[in-house]
């Protein structure tokens, strides 16, 4: 029953993805700048015939609704076109970059959660203590700091000054790693390649912190305020009246219910982590999807932008679906 509902939801993402893609299709073509001109500008002097030929190849010489028809027809067959610049299927290019982005997003999420949970819970339990004030001030800082700035500061301190961690990239050039999933941490565990695991983790730490700091701050604040609410609930008084020890009262009775609003916020943040990391990827030279998309936008590489946006929409919807599934476990009043 649950499996059918989940399948339904996944199928429901298809129209969403197409809707998003159509909007991007139109907006990209409304922005000034012509892909062929940009390509040619980089390539030096070329003849008018060559330009016309390229235009015809990309169907750019045809009216926009005809172009849209070609796009939708091909997409329905599972073909999202070739990149104008790299001349390769867009899905292939995305598949190469997506694991890096997912790995960074998961790293940032992990960092955010291990920071946010203890802080959120303790600040609520010890409300108005120095710990509470200090962590909420820290959370305020975490939300206010721009990620690129934090990234640069982290690099300056931990890579340049202290030389503890690498400056950029996903893995060192001299480390061999057999790729299975494309997530280097997972792959190195699967192949029991411990030096590679250490190297991949060392590369992952700073970008994860830079990307996850704001999420940690947001989650800590939401968790604190929902814990403050559940700690005052009648069922918490009942748990105490039953003779439950304090840690059980907090971690089982109060936290379980405080997770419901918190998970919603985490789900929204996962979308941000996956789709909003261009800047952090640039600062840390992280070969992820974000930089691919930014380059594609500057080059007016229409097919690549369209395909990437569809992938973003898909991951966003899937992240929300996971949240909804978690929700049904946390809150028995809700079914999928």
């Amino acid at each position: 029953m649950r499996a059918i509902k989940v399948l339904e939801r996944i199928l429901a993402t298809i129209p969403i993805m197409f809707g998003v893609a159509i909007m991007v299709f139109i907006f990209m073509r409304l922005t000034p700048g012509d892909p062929v001109d940009i390509m040619m500008g980089a390539g030096g002097a070329v003849g008018a015939g060559e330009i016309e030929q390229l235009r015809a190849e990309f169907h750019l010489d045809e009216p926009i609704h005809i172009q849209l028809w070609y796009f939708l027809r091909d997409a329905a067959r599972g073909d999202l076109g070739n990149s104008y610049i790299k001349k390769r299927p867009t899905m292939e290019l995305i598949a190469e970059r997506l694991p890096a982005t997912i790995e960074l997003a998961l790293g940032a999420l992990f960092f955010a959660l291990i920071i946010a949970f203890p802080i959120g819970i303790l600040s609520a339990v010890k409300q108005n203590s120095w710990l509470d004030r200090f962590s909420m001030a820290g959370a305020f800082l975490g939300i206010s700091m721009p990620a690129f700035w934090l990234g640069i500061v982290l690099i300056l301190i931990f890579s340049v000054k202290l030389r503890w961690l690498p400056v950029q990239g996903r893995i060192s050039y001299d480390v061999n790693l057999q790729e299975i999933t494309g997530l280097y941490v997972v792959d190195s565990i699967l192949t029991r390649n411990w030096p590679a695991l250490k190297d991949a983790l060392r590369h992952l730490i700073l970008p994860s912190i830079a990307l996850g700091a704001a999420v940690a701050a947001i989650v800590a604040r939401v968790l604190r305020s929902s814990m403050l609410e559940t700690l005052r609930a009648d069922y918490v008084t009942l748990a105490r009246a039953k003779g439950a020890p304090e840690h059980r009262v907090v971690l089982r009775h109060a936290l379980r219910n405080a997770l419901i609003p918190t998970v919603t916020v985490i789900g929204l943040q996962v979308g941000v982590l996956l789709g909003g990391n261009m800047i952090v990827e640039t600062v840390f030279g992280w070969p992820g999807l974000g930089r691919l998309v930014v380059d594609a936008i500057f080059n007016r590489d229409f097919p690549l932008v369209q395909a990437s946006v569809m992938v973003y929409a898909f991951t966003f919807v899937i992240a929300n679906l996971i949240v909804d599934i978690l929700y049904t476990y946390l809150n028995p009043k809700i079914t999928l």
């Binding site: 009648d234 069922y235 009246a241 003779g243 379980r256 009043k333």
Partner: protein, 352 residues
């Protein structure tokens, strides 16, 4: 009664510091409860009834705290216990039932598991360590839970074990809470307005259930209620509270038939009665006083039809009119003085 009391409160005072000054929610409360006795604690909302119960459990939320007094339960002073020792008393020896069953059951857990938690916390069912892996103990626990659900009148407990609180009706939720309270067979149940949130017909069923528990198991019950009718129906003795103090105490019959304190009289006049000639109800004028700015004298004086200027001048001692009959009213103090009765304690005049 020569029997040692099950619970005895001596001079219990619970205060809450606020920005406007200290609120003395419970002020010098003296109470005793014999084993198997049902005591009604009656008064308007905000008079400190529930705070008395939470004080007994030592569950007053900070920064509120018990400022003074003794809570003797089976000869032990609960205030002197460590937090760990107190936890073993909570749920195991003294259990509590709350007013609003829906918000008191944890919405995230199955009802059966919430009843089972009480058993597990106090190791009621023997089991080997590690606990969660001892399947035999788990099964016995579940059997006990189902037996408890049956006892409190939850139909088809096998199927209801796995239900969540929101799938229960209000009456069923309150029964589940009573099952939680009964799980460890406590000597004393503190019931805080257990029927207030329920329909009248369900109210009667729940009171009936509690009465049966009291009769069968000899469990002492303190019932907090604002409804004198409920108290009259169900309790052996009644203590009437006003503004944090007990103003009158006695057996049900005496308090209902011949109320001594003007506040009790006022409460009785507020109850509409069936079958009597129609006459307008006579509500008590005015409002419950603000506990942060209580007058020095009788706190009921501003609303009292019998008040004299002298009532507001100083604290009114409790007067012990008979063996188990007390009232805190200046009229009785005058009477006691005329009779030449002696001061028992700082707070009490009696004829013994």
């Amino acid at each position: 009664m020569t029997q040692e009391p099950l619970l005895e409160l001596r001079n219990l005072t619970t205060v809450f510091p606020t920005r406007r000054g200290e609120v003395r929610a419970v002020e010098s409360v003296n109470l005793s409860l014999a084993p198997g006795e049902v005591l009604g604690l009656v008064g308007e909302s905000g008079c400190g009834k529930s705070t008395v119960l939470l004080s007994i459990m030592r569950l007053i939320r900070r920064p509120g705290h018990i400022a003074e007094g003794e809570i003797r339960f089976q000869g032990r002073d609960l205030r002197a216990l460590s937090e760990g020792e107190m936890r073993r008393v909570r749920g195991r020896e003294i259990a509590m039932i709350f007013q609003d069953p829906l918000s008191t059951l944890n919405p995230a857990f199955r009802v059966g598991d919430q009843i089972r938690e009480s058993l597990r916390l106090h190791h009621i069912v023997d089991g080997r360590w590690p606990w969660p892996l001892d399947m035999g103990a788990r099964r016995r626990e579940k059997e006990r839970v189902i037996q408890l659900m049956e006892e409190v009148g939850i139909p088809s407990p096998d199927a209801r074990y796995k239900a969540y609180p929101h799938e229960f009706s209000g009456g069923m939720q309150q029964r589940a809470l009573i099952a939680i309270a009964l799980a460890c067979e406590p000597r004393l149940i503190l019931a805080d307005e257990p029927t207030t949130a329920l329909d009248v017909t369900i109210q009667a069923q729940i009171l009936d259930l509690m009465k049966r528990i009291n009769e069968r198991r000899g469990t002492g019950i303190i019932l907090v209620t604002h409804d004198l009718g409920v108290a009259a129906e169900f309790c052996h003795r009644i203590a009437v509270m006003y503004a944090g103090r007990i103003v009158e105490m006695g057996s049900v019959d005496e308090v209902i038939e011949s109320p001594q304190h003007p506040y009790t009289q006022g409460l009785l006049d507020c109850i509409p009665r069936l079958g009597r000639e129609r006459q307008p109800l006579s509500p008590i004028p005015g409002n419950v006083p603000d506990l942060a700015t209580l007058p020095p004298g009788c706190s009921f004086a501003p609303r009292c039809p019998l008040a004299r200027p002298v009532c507001e001048s100083g604290p009114i001692p409790m007067v012990r009119l008979a063996r188990d009959r007390r009232s805190r009213c200046l009229r009785h103090v005058d009477f006691a003085r005329e009779q030449g009765w002696t001061w028992g304690t700082e707070y009490e005049i009696s004829n013994q």
